[in-house]
């Protein structure tokens, strides 16, 4: 008879307008690694938040080690030995590793903090699990991968037996991912029970024993990972057959459209986030910029679009210097932008689809007469065409408020708008983050189609797969500058990974 660490039975949780978990039953055997697989929005995070006490379920029961429990808040979860390694780290950056770990749980000697004993314990744990973290290092000084280990140490410090990892590899380089998977294996050997929330199939194959698949809030099934292929898992997740590779026409490179030279962009606080960065971009090609989040990608794009001022260097669009232009002038000169944070920079949620599709050219002859009076009928016409073309699913057609669309359809509205404006150079950041597989496929195909028509495209993505699949040339960004540019096919994922981590490779093009 198997012993269960976690038994969640008949969990239902609704939010206004949606059923996040619909009668979900999840069993985790003691000492196993269970992967929880599903697309964004399938209900994985909600389910784990219920287990961790952040939400309470509308109905259903939870048993930990065979006993029915009522997890009212995260403190109860901690007492029950459940720990969670969050996707977004919860660390104080100017505190040391040890200080972060004991935070809220400080040991005192006669009322005075006793960092010594805590430090010893952290050291012992770190050594015991091969985590190699210096207890005295400041969080600011260590890498993202190590910061994640601090999060793991936090959980171990509180004597957790059940550890939930929420999308742990999203912010890591390929090498760091390999190391993390080793750590997870080690934790399992030490008898910990692990739940791994992810939508990356490779990782599941590498470490998980069993895999539970969620789709639209329901459990589709639980399988032994050894018995199935990645393809099977993908089909369970999406509910239909999936194609992994995209067919791509050979690249026909045209004239030089964008030339960036020795660019420097500072953050609002005056830190140089991008420096000495140069590249050229030609018509009909996609240049990918690979790199770990936070290495200057956002600042690069904001400097190019004009959202942040450029300190020095030049940006030439079709031979014209644009670094001193306003955002509006840059758009007029043919610069398109699909932003990373679509709800913040891409759409106005309260506006309808038609109003959103005119967001960048509402003042032009297309929509306005010479007195500045808008033709809303024209907006509706254009939007109706885009809804057709881009297969945007909206309840009330072009008058649907953009805020009520799903993430994938919001992204389609933005992509449709940018392509409709027919820019010469299109900057794209994270075009498929958080989207379901159908929308991802569609948006990637549209990007390729525009490239074939001669658009110059700069693609910034943290998903190495996306870069490898779509791009004609691949540059890697690390600490604010490009450390190497290669034609696709000339470089392996592993080499890019090395460059992401900061080591430069010789002989780049």
């Amino acid at each position: 008879m198997q012993e269960y660490a976690i038994q969640m039975e008949g969990i239902t949780k609704t939010f206004p307008g949606i059923i996040a978990n619909d009668n979900v039953t999840l069993d985790v055997i003691k000492g196993e690694v269970l992967a929880l697989l599903g697309e964004n929005g399938a209900g994985k995070s909600t389910l784990m938040s219920i287990l961790f006490g952040a939400y309470s379920a509308d109905s259903g029961t939870i048993k930990i080690n065979g006993k029915v429990v009522d997890i009212k808040n995260p403190n109860v979860a901690t007492e029950l030995g459940i720990g969670m390694v969050h996707q977004h780290f919860k660390l104080v950056h100017n505190f040391t590793v040890t200080e972060n770990i004991v935070l809220g749980n400080e040991r005192t000697k006669g009322g005075i903090l006793d960092p010594g004993s805590a430090e010893k314990r952290v050291k012992a744990l770190s050594d015991g699990y091969n985590l190699h973290v210096d207890p005295r290092a400041l969080i600011d000084d260590i890498t993202v991968g190590q910061q994640q280990r601090v999060e793991i140490l936090k959980v171990l410090y509180k004597n957790a037996d059940i550890i939930i990892f929420d999308e742990p590899t999203a912010v890591l380089t390929p090498q760091e991912i390999v190391e993390l998977l080793e750590i997870i294996k080690l934790l399992k050997e030490e008898g910990k029970t692990i739940v791994l929330i992810t939508h990356k199939l490779k990782e599941i194959k590498a470490v998980a024993d069993r895999c539970t698949v969620l789709r639209r809030g329901k459990v589709i099934g639980t399988v032994k990972v050894a018995d199935v292929s990645e393809k099977d898992l993908a089909e369970m997740m999406v509910g239909r057959a999936v194609k992994f590779e995209i067919e791509k026409q050979p690249c026909h490179r045209g004239e030089k459209l964008l030339e960036v030279k020795d660019l420097r962009v500072d953050t609002a606080l005056g830190l140089p986030k991008v420096h000495d960065l140069s590249f050229e971009l030609y018509a009909g090609e996609i240049l990918g910029i690979a790199g770990v989040d936070g290495n200057g990608q956002s600042e690069l794009l904001q400097g190019l679009t004009g959202l942040l001022p450029v300190q020095s260097g030049s940006i030439k669009l079709c031979g014209k210097e644009i670094s001193g232009m306003t955002i509006k002038e840059r758009i007029k000169n043919g610069l398109g932008y699909i932003p990373e944070d679509r709800q913040k920079h891409g759409i106005v949620k309260q506006f309808s689809i038609s109003e959103n599709s005119a967001l960048k050219d509402y003042y032009t002859e297309t929509y306005a007469d010479k007195f500045g009076i808008l033709d809303f009928g024209k907006m509706v016409n254009v939007a109706d065409g885009l809804i057709q073309d881009f297969d945007i699913r909206a309840g009330e057609g072009s008058s649907t408020p953009a805020g009520s669309l799903s993430g994938g359809n919001q992204q389609k509205v933005i992509v449709a708008r940018e392509i409709y404006l027919d820019p010469k150079v299109l900057l794209i950041a994270q075009p498929t983050r958080g989207l379901d597989v159908g929308a991802i496929e569609y948006i990637r195909r549209r990007i390729l189609a525009e490239r074939d028509k001669g658009m110059a495209i700069l693609l910034v993505s943290f998903e190495l797969d996306e870069i490898m699949n779509l791009c004609d040339r691949i540059a890697t960004i690390s600490k604010g500058t490009l450390v190497g540019t290669y034609n696709s096919g000339e470089i392996s994922e592993y080499e890019i990974g090395m460059m992401m981590a900061g080591s430069k490779k010789e002989g780049d093009k």
Binding site: I327, Q350, G372
Partner: protein, 371 residues
């Protein structure tokens, strides 16, 4: 996650309608006001008789009709509507303009100066008064707009501070005017006043004057700019999502500064109309009239739309006019302030109603899920 169909119950559809909620809120305010009147032992029916008389001009007690009451309510509404438009316009662009009071005072002051010192040319005199009053209000609001747009100075703080600056500046200036003592100046020349002889004839000598047309014009202008022009489109985008507007090349800085100037012009015009429409002499004010602050409430009740603000402004004017009538019917006039206050409190319930709506939504989905 499974999205459910978007058809709520009838009640939910109504709760999602802003105009319905506004009306509901006003009714709630009156309901509680009625209970309060009854509690202090007066007849609530007298309160409604007074309000009805202010609304229609009919005195239900003796059956006489006097149109003066009716048009007096409209005249009282003029500054409420204009100050409401001031708040509403800035609010649509994402700003909280508490400075309508100061903009109103500055408009009033400039109006008084020109009324007493300007050239006495018929029509042109009062027209120039209203134009310069609007411009003064525009400058007063625009300063806050520019500071907000360029240097991120909170418009809440700067407008409040300028309210006081306006008040004392007004005193300093008005005390220098011809014939000024501590509370009034000399009488205006005839050419300065907004009196409309036709209105006087038809409305039994009410105070209603040409300012009414300017108010109507402003309401239409507000609606036209916001809903029909590319300027208004850019401003609404700025108000809803400043970052997205900026990233799309919409001139956010210009829109913010301009919207505060336009807002200020509405309130300044209100000040001008009150100065030369409702009075025959310049006032040396020692305290604020309160129209600017009431304008906040007017805009909120009116959902910051042009027509909503017009309706809400009229309601406030009606209540103000009803005050004197209430006193003659043994109802404390303060009840109107209580009703206004309650309406503002209940407006805050809007989000409460949203919660109720979400709860109903959830119940419905649970029901559907359990089928």
């Amino acid at each position: 996650m499974a999205k459910t169909k978007k058809d709520g119950t009838r009640l939910q559809q109504l709760l999602a309608n802003d105009a319905f909620v506004s009306i509901l809120v006003v009714l709630l305010g009156f309901l509680v006001g009625t209970i309060l009147v009854a509690l202090v032992g007066r007849k609530p029916s007298n309160m409604y008789k007074a309000i009805f008389q202010a609304f229609s001009g009919y005195n239900l007690d003796n059956g006489k009709w006097n149109p003066r009451y009716l048009f007096e309510s409209i005249n009282y509404a003029v500054p409420f509507v204009l100050c409401g438009l001031s708040m509403a316009f800035a609010n649509r662009v994402g700003l909280f303009n508490i400075g309508a009071e100061g903009q109103y005072v500055i408009g009033m002051t400039v109006a008084e100066v020109i009324a007493l010192l300007g050239p006495q040319i018929p029509v042109l005199h009062w027209l120039s008064i209203l134009i310069f009053a609007s411009l003064a209000g525009a400058v007063w609001g625009g300063v806050c707009g520019v500071m907000k747009a360029k240097y991120e100075v909170s418009e809440v703080v700067s407008t409040i501070m300028l309210n006081y600056t306006a008040l004392y500046l007004s005193r300093i200036i008005c005390l220098q005017l011809p014939g000024a003592n501590t509370f009034k100046t000399a009488n205006y020349p005839k050419t300065a006043m907004l009196t409309n002889p036709l209105f006087q004839k038809f409305t039994n000598n009410s105070m209603l004057n040409n300012g009414f047309f300017f108010m109507l014009f402003c309401v239409i202008l507000f609606w036209f700019i916001m809903e029909k022009t590319s300027l208004g489109y850019g401003m609404r985008a700025t108000g809803f999502n400043k970052e997205a507007a900026r990233a799309s090349g919409i001139p956010v800085v210009k829109n913010i500064a301009l919207s505060m100037a336009i807002a200020g012009a509405f309130a300044g015009l209100g000040g001008g109309i009150v100065a030369v429409g409702s009075f025959t002499y310049g006032r040396v004010i020692s305290g604020q009239d309160g129209y600017g602050f009431n304008g906040i409430a007017v805009a909120l009740v009116g959902n910051c739309t042009a027509w909503g603000t017009l309706a809400a402004g009229y309601l406030f004017g009606l209540l103000k006019n009803a005050q004197a009538l209430m006193q003659s019917k043994n109802i404390p006039k303060e009840i109107t302030f209580i009703i206004q206050g309650l309406i503002v409190v209940f407006i805050a319930l809007r989000s409460g109603l949203q919660i109720l709506n979400n709860y109903l939504d959830k119940k419905r989905i649970q029901k559907e899920a359990s089928k």
